[in-house]
């Protein structure tokens, strides 16, 4: 079973994402901001990280940049999952080392499409 870390400051979003990803056979861990996510990654890198952009304490972009500098920080696939839906944000995310990008709102079909895009299912 692959591990997915869901990083979002909304616990409603985390719950919805967890439910879909569990149906897709992922083991889920959650973090409410970038700092908490980074701490969890330092204890063990997940296979994939679902990452919100706008969060308190440390946002998704700062987290991504920090993650990629960690030892083993290249290993997890990172999928942004955010309401930011303009080309500028998407390009910036991809240049900073994201592997895929989901524009909210999402559903199970979008998750399946995007996770299969990067070979996770």
């Amino acid at each position: 079973m692959k591990n997915c870390l869901v990083v979002d400051d909304s616990n409603v979003i985390r719950k919805v994402a967890r439910r879909i990803l569990e149906e897709m056979n992922f083991a889920i861990d959650e973090a409410a901001d970038g700092q908490e996510a980074l701490d969890k990654c330092r204890q063990g890198m997940p296979d994939v990280i679902l990452l919100d952009w706008n969060m308190p304490v440390m946002d998704g972009m700062d987290f991504l940049i920090a993650l990629r500098q960690e030892e083993n920080g290249q290993a997890p696939k990172v999928i942004f999952c955010t309401t930011e839906n303009d080309v500028g944000h998407i390009m910036k995310a991809m240049r900073s080392g994201a592997n895929e990008y989901i524009m909210k709102p999402f559903d199970k079909e979008i998750f399946e499409a995007k996770f299969s895009e990067i070979g996770l299912i």
């Binding site: 998407i90 991809m94 895929e100 990008y101 524009m103 999402f106 559903d107 979008i110 499409a113």
Partner: protein, 296 residues
Amino acid sequence: MTPQDRDYLHAILKEKSGLVLVGEKDYLLQSRLMPVARRHGMESVSELVAKTRTPGNNGIINDITEAMTTNESFFFRDKTPFLHFTETMMPELLKDRSGTKKLRIWCAAASTGQEPYSLAICLKEMSERLAGWKIEIIGTDLSAEVIEKARSGLYSQFEVQRGLPIHMLTGYFSQAGDMWQIDSSIRAMVTYKEFNLLESFAGLGKFDIVFCRNVLIYFDQLTKAEVLDRVANQMNPNSYLVLGAAETVIGLSDKYNSVAEKRGLYEVKGAGAATVGGVDIAKPVFVPRSAVSGAA
């Protein structure tokens, strides 16, 4: 809706589009046709049916047919057909047709355009190997509504997230309000046309690749067989047919050979089997029966 109404609707749908409804889809008739009835200022599906029985109501019949067909499509649907396209079909055809450097591709149930545009993107990505080639993609569909949408190249945020890798979204689309529009350079690679597969294919010309996916599945065996045989007649020697994941030629047409280890991919061998001088001598031309509505 009376049983007679239902039988009558089944008959029109079969006649006009080949669509065959099985018993458990009956509820669909009511839920999909009620909006059509309202649009035409009627209160019930029975009233709508009564109206179609009077002459001069082909418009309503078309609306009924469009409402009952399934138009769902997505970019790079099922993925493998597009791998077969770039890794098997195109390399073979680039060798085989190097004399003429011309290829014609037909998406025979193009719906809202995701399939022909996915092929156009594949061609764009291999464009350095295509210098000097003239490649046409023709997308046809029964429904005027989907063809119009296909031409516009406009897709919702939901549609562009099903099947399109993000680098293709940023590479080939631009934002247009809430929607995403595929670039004009890709749109220009595809020609769209309203076309019913039950009608004669004369005038379409010959093709080297035919994508006929997720449409035969709605037809009965006889209609499937007829369409497949007539498609074969529109194909150049050594051409490819691609069907949907749940479709096959087996038991329906003997004009195709399966391609080993490529599921859903078929070849037409030799000089179009039973064709002499472009005229099919073995099979009569399929003539659609006259319309149930009695309209000429």
